[in-house]
Structures are given as C-alpha cells and as structure tokens.
C-alpha cells in the first residue's frame, strides 16, 4: 500500500515536471545587458557573403545574414549574429532562424529585422523571385593595370527575372595565361588580378557555362624592381625579403612583394624562398634570390647563409636585480660569449613569460627592445627569442 502511494506521487511529480519544459525567452533579460555593456548604438543587417544592400533570391534558397553594430562613438563592436530574435515582415513569403538563416518559401518581398535590447536594425529587403542565370553581368574594375600591382574585379549574374544576383561559383581566367596571375577575391564573384606582361589581356568570368569578358591593358610603367643587398641569415633562420617596384612618373616605389614571382636562381641547397618572399636558410653558404614581374623585369639579391644559431648569450648575465621604477637595458648576442658585433637585441622578440606582467615590463618596440622596467616587488621571467632560440632573464624587483 505504501509503495502504491509512493509510485502515484512519484508519477505525479514526473508528469508535472514533464509538462514543465523550460519556457520563457532569456534574451529579454540578457540582451539589454549586452547592449548596455557594448554601449550599442546602431545595428545593421548584411548578407554573410555579399556587400549588397538588398537581395533577390529563389524560393527555397537559404541565405545567412549577419549583424554589425557600432557604439555611441561610432566605433564598430563585435556582436554575435546567432541566437537573435530575427524576424521577417511576412512569414508566408520567407522564414528566418534565430541564427539568421533566411529561407524564401514563395515569391514576394519581405523585410528582415532584428532587435538587440532596445536597438533595432533598419530593415533589409529581400525579394523572393524565381529566376535562372541568363547572362554574366559586366565585369567591374579598372581597364588599365600597372605590372605587378593587383586590381580587384567583380561581376554578377543577371537572372531571367531581370534581377542582378551574386554568383555562387565563378570561374575566372585570363588570355594569354602568362600575362598575369589570379588570386581569389574576398567577396563573392570577385577576383584579384596582377598583370605581369605589358599589352592587352582578356579577363573572363564563367558560371553555369555562361561567360562574360573584359579586355584590359597592362601598361609598361614598371621600370625596375628593387631588392636589398648584402643580407645574411643563419641556416636555421628565416628572412622576409621586400620587393619594391619603381614605376614611371611615380616618385616613391611601391611594395610589390606579394605580386612578384620569387625563385632561387643559385644555391637552392643553401636557401629556399616561398611565394611571399620569405627566405629560409638551409645550409651555410650563399644563394641568389630573384624577384620577377613577367619575363623581362627582375631583380636578384645575393644572400649569405651563416652557421646555425644554437645559443644566445646575455651581456652581463641573466639574473637582474631592479628596484621599483628602475629601467635597465638588456642585451643579447649570438654565440657563447657576448659579442657587440653579433648583438641581436633589436632583432629579437622580447616578452614577459606568463600572464602576470605587473612585476616588470619589457619593451618589444623598435629602438627600445630589451628595456626592462621594475613595476612592483616580485620575480618574473623575461624571455628574448631570435631565430627559434630563446634566452631567459630572471628579473628580481625589490
């Protein structure tokens, strides 16, 4: 009999709790706090992968939307786009999830809006309309290029309903192919072209077997490429080279490091170079590195690759006593005994080990690198790193 009652009440409790799935929108409370803490002043809605200010999409097509916000001083603030109260003006035409995923259900025009705390974003209009790709739109971008100076080009699709839309996949190519290099653009339907050979070049965009093209001209304004000479690096070190393009009618050179073609023309057993001009020392000796823009214009620099660095040494030892407020310059060199000629203080990276930087600070800024200042009493480790080799200083502030 007692067991029977226990079962009944337990059953009752379970039924009550089962009926009581959580209800209530926590965001009513959390979003005002979030908006307050961010000093959120404005919100704006944008498609995740497009800069369009309005969109046309097919029914059943899903589009992700994101939020951007600014604070009271107009500075942008990080604000999540997920778990928000997104809404559409007509749920018969489209739906949008709490994570900002929009999906059209039937043809019509809807406005998307969202509210965070008391801050509401201006509506973003989406036209839900069925259409298929009819033609590739105009390729937008400069008609003239300077050699090895990248330009961005973009296009869009013109659909059968007359609407311009972003293209999901665009294949870009150039004719002649050796006249330049293509790099994927940051926005949907865009490409970055860097021309190398003077003369005409045709840029072609293809999507769904439809193509559009634009004829461009690469001028001959690049006169020479400048590379620093007399550089050296250790066999286990890296060195970033910078290519400067000297253009006609321009008083100062332009950085074309990422546009030129880098190669080792001599000493490939001693050094290697990547597409961005980063040289890696391999073995002691010398190597010649070339930066070329097209077949005709190039520059070569000779590098000396020295023996591997295995050790850093401090000038005057690694145990440093400081008083609060006292500043001291730390110095390091390669080798086993400090040598002023091998000083790498300014080339090393300096920092306090761990997250507690209240005891001492160390400068990692050009011309003051290695300057340590006592802040409060205690002991802290300062580390200097150069070419993957580190040395620790024990700083005792008293």
């Amino acid at each position: 009999m007692k067991l029977n009652s226990l079962v009944r009440v337990s059953f009752f409790a379970l039924v009550v709790m089962a009926l009581s799935g959580c209800e209530g929108d926590v965001r009513d409370l959390t979003e005002p706090v979030e908006a307050n803490q961010l000093n959120l002043s404005t919100l704006s809605i944008a498609p995740l992968s497009s800069s369009r200010t309005s969109l046309t999409v097919n029914p059943d097509e899903a589009i992700a939307f994101t939020l951007a916000g600014t604070d009271g001083s107009g500075q942008s603030v990080d604000i999540a786009s997920t778990n928000r109260r997104w809404s559409v003006s007509d749920n018969n035409i489209a739906t949008i999830s709490d994570d900002g995923i929009f999906r059209g259900t039937q043809e019509g025009v809807v406005d998307i809006s969202v509210l965070v705390g008391e801050v509401r974003a201006p509506p973003f209009t989406v036209n839900v309309s069925f259409g298929t790709l009819d033609r590739i739109g105009e390729i937008v971008g400069s008609e003239e290029l300077q050699p090895c100076l990248a330009q961005t080009y973009s296009t869009e699709g013109i659909f059968t309903d007359g609407s311009p839309r972003d293209l999901d996949s665009v294949s870009w190519s150039i004719e002649p192919t050796e006249s330049g290099t293509l790099t994927e653009g940051t926005e949907s339907g865009s490409i970055i072209l860097s021309g190398t050979t003077s003369g005409p070049i045709t840029l072609i965009a293809t999507s769904d077997n439809l193509s559009g093209s634009k004829v461009l001209t690469i001028d001959d304004s690049l006169e020479t490429i400048g590379l620093a000479n007399g550089l050296s690096l250790a066999a286990n070190a890296t060195l970033q080279l910078v290519a400067q393009g000297n253009y006609a009618n321009e008083s100062s050179p332009r950085d074309i490091t990422n546009a030129v073609a880098w190669s080792i023309t001599q000493g490939s057993d001693q050094a290697a170079v990547d597409d961005a001009g980063l040289v890696s020392g391999i073995a002691e000796g010398s190597a010649a590195v070339q930066a070329a823009c097209g077949a005709d214009i190039n520059a070569v620099t000779n590098l000396t690759i020295t023996a591997q660095i295995t050790q850093l040494v401090a000038d005057g030892g690694t145990d440093i006593d400081l008083s609060v407020g006292q500043l001291e310059q730390l110095r390091i060199s390669t080798g086993t005994v400090y040598d002023e000629d091998e000083d790498v203080t300014e080339l090393a990276s300096w920092g306090v080990v761990g997250i507690d930087n209240t005891i001492a600070s160390v400068s990692n800024v050009s011309s003051t690198r290695g300057q340590v200042t006592g802040l409060t009493r205690g002991e802290v480790i300062v580390r200097a790193s150069y070419n993957n080799v580190s040395i620790n200083f024990t700083i005792d502030v008293n």
Binding site: L6, V16, L19, S20, E23, G24, V26
Partner: protein, 175 residues
C-alpha cells in the same frame, strides 16, 4: 491549467483522505539570479500549503512574492512572483531532523530595470519550468507540530540564465 488538473486527478486517486494531514509553510529568502556576468540577489517571501497523502509524502501548492530588488551595474532585478505545484518526499526523522526534496513545476516572472541617465527601462519576462528543492527540517521541541526549515531551491530555465535561492522558514502540520 494542465498541472492543476494533474494535481486534482492525483489527489482524487488517493482514497484514504481520512489519513491525510495538511501542512503550511512560510519562508523568507534570497534568490540568486545570474546572467551576463551579473549576479543578483533579490529577496522573496514564500508560502505553501499541502497535504500528506502518505507518511513522508506530500503534494503542495506554493506561491512566492518578491520582497526586494537587487542591483548590479546599471540593472535592478526582482523575481516579482512565482507559483506552482510540487511533490514532497521526506526522510524519516532522525534526532528531530528530516531531509526533504521537492519536485515540481513553477511559473515565475522577472522584472529587470535598466537605469538610464534620466529614466528606467523595464524588461519583463515570464518563465516556467521544473522546480527542485532540497532542504532540512528541524522539529521544535516545545511545539512538535512545527519545524524550522532551511531550503535550497532551483528553478529550471534555459542558459545563460540561472535562478535559484535559499530560504529559511517554518512549517506547521495541521490535522
């Protein structure tokens, strides 16, 4: 209404009402309301009435009323009221002390005021979910129908909000 129906059906299924003993309880306490790195502790008063359907097993209705707001940063929070139903399971008494657990359903309202320069902005939301309470009850020596109670309660709610509380009160058993 579903939970009220469940209560009535459950109570009516106990055919031994003559054995039933009623009880009432009153508590004062503080809620803990946490969200968005803010931690509020508003006060509340709580009353409940119930019936033991068997020894150490009861079913009760409860009602809480917020007694004070709590402030954190630019915000004030008050759990304005809460009500619901619960099943009570008690341990046998050992040296005058019993442990108990309450399992039930609660609906509650939270008012959150944002204090602006010259105004206040109110956000109100109603929540509902499971209630779980764990407590200890000490029988009074001079008046054995009464017990002092100390209780921890948690109201189920979606993250990142957390609502719980501690209460201290007295329970009186009535024949």
């Amino acid at each position: 209404m579903r939970w009220l129906l469940t209560l009535l059906l459950t109570l009516s299924s106990f055919s031994v009402a003559a054995e039933s003993q009623f009880y009432g309880e009153f508590q004062l306490g503080v809620h803990g309301v946490q969200h968005s790195d803010l931690d509020f502790h508003p006060g509340f008063a709580s009353g409940s009435v119930g019936m033991y359907v068997r020894r150490h097993i009861g079913v009760e209705l409860f009602y809480d009323r917020g007694t004070s707001k709590a402030r954190e940063d630019d915000f004030d929070i008050k759990v304005t009221e809460a009500s619901g139903i619960a099943a009570r399971f008690e341990s046998p008494e050992q040296r005058g002390v019993q442990a108990y657990i309450l399992l039930g359903y609660v609906t509650y309202s939270i008012d959150q005021y944002e204090n602006l320069l010259n105004s206040r902005r109110l956000a109100q939301e109603n929540f509902s979910g499971a209630r779980v309470s764990l407590g200890l009850a000490k029988t009074l020596q001079r008046y054995r129908q009464a017990q002092l109670v100390f209780e921890y309660r948690n109201y189920d709610v979606d993250a990142p909000l957390n609502v719980d509380g501690f209460g201290l009160g007295i329970r009186v058993k009535l024949r």
